[in-house]
């Protein structure tokens, strides 16, 4: 007998200026179920949770909790009504004890003062349920993130939540801690709790969830029973690609045939950093576009960070144009002829209040140093050149960059790096969040740059783009390179299967 879902979301919509974050999404959560919510960047997972818990008001649709209409004005209100959220950053207070975090705001009192002994007892009882035995009088900050998360879950349970939302709980956990968390989740499920598990780790979804809901670009792709959805089909749903029945297509293994002659612009050997990226090798030649494909969290941005000197590797060597270099900082990378257009243009790319011109010439000026000032006239000349080349729509080069549209801002950052005339340009999600026209222009630009001899490392979540622009593709998964595809293997299906079948622990259906 199908039981009525404890939480039902119907046709939920939410928009922000210029963005439609959620468009008519349905979602159902049942008691005693672990339900995974998945989607790539911009899919709407985070917005869904925020609308549900009252951070944002909804534009349309309805939410039913235990059969009755549900509305919360804040996460705390939602918690009081029975829906608790545990965030990735564990929004607790590090400088107070575990017991205090569990009971902050609701501490037991005696004659107006907090009863420490009773608080300790109550705290230990809560944690007992979670099979967690720690000194509750220790500061929360002394414990690992895994333990802190358990404490956050404990606090949520103390509020007698019926629905527990876990927002990317495993991102900072090691394998053993993940297992402990799963044990707890299964226990809570057996006790009748409904758990909404937001994650991007495919294997974990198969290890612990009963159902999967996939969102893409703010829309519902579908709700599936985990046991009946093969991994590669899940990946195809996440990426929005149809899965062809091509059993004969082999997955890519080993090195792609490398026919380019001459010294590669970039040669990486055994580069890696614990907890960030596993050791990898890489080569890019002049005039070549190497695409990085993979799901969210696979390590593509981390790879770019290691090459550009933002993260310092633990091991490995890098050679630029044949010369060994130690890329210990972005400045060194810049001086070696590498440029990085970062993933988050808002916080890592543009400097809001500066003009378009100033944003464009910044890296070039840094490269030239403190004593070779680029005179105003030359700045304007450079800015004009790239405004024209990239077709940046702006009334003037002195317009504050924050007034430009996302697409034009992105182009400005690309221009910044082009102005330094790099031999290798790394582009991390250059087409994210911009309109279709600008997307096409950037892709055309990549191709023309490589024609002119620049080496390009192109990172994108959009398989189409990667296939269209790249000469070769490296496939990443769970912080490691798992496959290299040469020109003859570059195909959506191959990519998806490579991601799906890479050796990892996890329950694969059938």
């Amino acid at each position: 007998m199908p039981e009525a879902p404890i939480l039902e979301i119907r046709h939920l919509s939410k928009g922000f200026p210029g963005v439609r974050a959620l468009a008519g999404v349905d979602f159902r959560l049942r008691r005693g179920e672990i339900h995974a919510l998945m989607g790539e960047n911009g899919a709407g997972k985070s917005t869904l949770i925020k609308v549900l818990t009252g951070v944002y008001p909804r534009d349309g649709g309805e939410i039913l909790f235990e059969g009755r209409p549900f509305a919360a004005g804040s996460p705390h209100e939602a918690q009081e009504q029975g829906i608790s959220t545990v965030y990735q950053e564990v929004n607790l207070v590090q400088n107070l004890s575990v017991a205090e975090n569990l009971l902050l705001g609701r501490q037991p009192t005696r004659a107006g003062l907090i009863d420490g002994r009773e608080m300790k007892r109550r705290a230990e009882t809560i944690l007992e349920r979670l099979n967690l035995r720690v000194d509750v009088n220790q500061l929360l900050g002394d414990y690992s993130i895994a333990v802190q998360q358990m404490v956050a879950i404990g606090r949520a349970l103390e509020f007698e939540s019926k629905v527990l939302i876990l927002d990317e709980p495993t991102s900072s956990l090691d394998a053993e801690e993940v297992e402990q968390l799963f044990k707890l989740m299964r226990k809570l499920k057996a006790e009748g709790h409904a758990i909404l598990f937001v994650t991007h780790f495919v294997d974990q979804v198969y290890a612990v969830s009963d159902r999967i809901t996939v969102l893409r670009n703010g829309e519902l792709v579908g709700e599936f029973e985990t046991a009946r959805l093969p991994k590669v089909e899940l990946i195809s749903k996440l990426l929005g690609k149809a899965l062809h029945d091509l059993e004969s297509v082999a997955t890519a293994k080993g090195e792609a045939a490398d026919e380019r002659a001459g010294e590669p612009v970039l040669r990486v050997q055994g580069l890696g950093k614990a907890g960030v990226l596993e050791r990898f090798d890489l080569e890019i030649h002049a005039g070549e576009v190497l695409g990085l494909a993979g799901l969210l969290g696979s390590g593509r941005t981390e790879l770019a960070s290691l090459i550009f000197g933002i993260e310092k590797p633990d091991e490995g060597e890098v050679a630029v144009q044949g010369e060994k270099v130690r890329l210990s900082s972005p400045l060194r990378a810049l001086q070696s002829g590498i440029g990085l257009c970062p993933e988050d243009r808002k916080s890592e790319g543009i400097i809001e209040d500066l003009s378009l011109r100033e944003n464009i010439i910044l890296a070039l000026q840094v490269k030239q140093g403190w004593f070779r000032n680029i005179p105003r006239a030359r700045q304007e000349e450079i800015a004009e050149r790239y405004i024209k080349l990239l077709d940046i729509r702006t009334p003037s080069a002195d317009q504050a960059i924050k007034n430009l549209s996302g697409g034009n801002q992105q182009k400005a950052i690309v221009a910044r790096w082009l102005a330094t005339q790099p031999s290798l340009l790394i582009l991390d999600e250059p087409t994210r969040g911009i309109d279709v026209g600008a997307k096409a222009e950037i892709q055309k630009l990549i191709l023309s740059l490589s024609d002119k001899g620049m080496a390009v490392l192109f990172i994108s979540s959009e398989l189409d783009e990667v296939l269209r622009c790249a000469d070769r593709i490296a496939v990443l998964r769970d912080k490691a390179i798992v496959g290299n595809l040469g020109a003859d293997q570059m195909d959506e299906q191959v990519i998806m299967r490579t991601i799906a079948h890479a050796d990892k622990v996890g329950a694969e259906p059938r």
Binding site: I310, S329, P330, L331, A333, L334, Q335, L340, P342, S347, E348, G349, I350, I351, E352, D353, L354, E358, L362, A363, Q365, V366, K367, Q368, W370, F371, N373, I374, R416
Partner: protein, 335 residues
């Protein structure tokens, strides 16, 4: 006509100038003789001259403070550095009877080292600017008093006093000092990318790092320069009273300087800065004080008025307040 008007009103210098003009206009209408400038003994006298003369030390300090605030930081030690510089100058004159050059140069070197000390704490140890500069603020006056040896030094040295009380071409010398400092800075800003680097650091340190910029170096330069400015102001103030009183000289001048910078349009969170605005801000503060004085209002009200100005500036810079104001005016869109 309209586009040009719009360009005028959107210039960052507009509001400070308008405020200054309003104060001057008020005086033009209600204070007889405010605008009278006389030439006596080859010197210009008058309320206007007084304003510029008394504002000069704050302007000097505001020059350095503007850059510091533009990187998103703050320097509350400048008053103490003023005391230290003044103390060294006083001691050099009275105890060592030093010639003019060392009396001018050594305090400046000391002040610059103070600035470098702050810079080291902030960039080397990663201490928050307000905390790092607090240390020198607490210690500085004590150090100054120590250098002097406990009392207040009174001295006469004509060539030195010229700096504080002298006149050149009819105008007080200190104005030229402030102008010279500003010109020096303007030269540096024009011939090096320092201005761009400061604005980038304050605008987004993260994006600046991604562009290869050494944010630590930018901050180091800026705090050291702030120390130098404090040293110059210390010399002017000490020359003015021809005495070194480490306990009282430049008291609360850091607050006036911060206020001048904020009124002048540089945001406390960093980014674009407005040097001329800071100077106008210093003039605004001083003209308020002078207006109160000439109107015969008891001097104790000066502080209350300054407080009111700060409150107005805070509210205007608060997005929340602007929203509430806009809600009161039907139909007007928020900025």
């Amino acid at each position: 006509m309209i586009p040009r008007l719009r360009r005028l009103t959107s210039s960052p210098l507009t509001w400070p100038l308008v405020t200054l003009a309003a104060i001057l206009l008020f005086n033009l209408l209600f204070t007889p003789g405010f605008f009278r400038v006389e030439l006596k003994d080859g010197h210009l006298f008058g309320s206007l001259v007084d304003i510029v003369k008394n504002a000069a030390p704050v302007m000097i300090i505001a020059t350095g403070m503007t850059l510091v605030i533009a990187t998103g930081g703050i320097d509350i030690s400048v008053g103490a550095v003023v005391a230290i510089a003044g103390a060294i100058a006083g001691v050099l004159v009275t105890r060592y009877h030093a010639p003019l050059l060392p009396v001018l140069v050594l305090p400046l070197i000391a002040a610059t080292l103070c600035g470098a000390f702050n810079a080291l704490l902030i960039t080397g140890f990663g201490i928050q600017p307000i905390i790092a500069t607090l240390i020198l603020m607490v210690m500085g006056r004590g150090l100054g008093q120590l250098i002097i040896g406990g009392r207040v030094l009174w001295f006469r040295m004509a060539s030195f006093e010229y700096l504080g009380t002298g006149y050149l071409l009819g105008l007080p010398v200190r104005i030229f000092v402030a102008a010279a400092l500003l010109a020096l800075l303007a030269l540096v800003l024009r011939t090096t990318p320092l201005g761009l680097f400061i604005q980038a650091t304050g605008g987004s340190a993260k994006a600046s790092r991604y562009s290869g910029l050494s944010v630590g170096l930018v901050k180091f330069v800026v705090y050291t320069f702030s120390g130098l400015c404090a040293g110059v102001a210390g010399l002017v103030l000490t020359a003015n009273i021809h005495g070194s009183d480490a306990a009282l000289v430049g008291m609360y001048i850091e607050l006036d300087a911060i206020l001048a910078v904020v009124i002048g349009g540089t945001s406390m969170s960093g980014g674009k800065f407005n040097l001329l605005g800071s100077l106008v801000g210093a003039l605004i503060i001083q003209s308020l004080t002078t207006t109160i004085f000439t109107k015969g209002v008891p001097v104790q009200f000066t502080l209350v008025v300054k407080a009111a100005v700060v409150v107005i500036v805070i509210l205007l810079q608060s997005g929340e307040f602007r929203r509430q104001l806009a809600a009161l005016v039907p139909g007007r869109a928020t900025r």
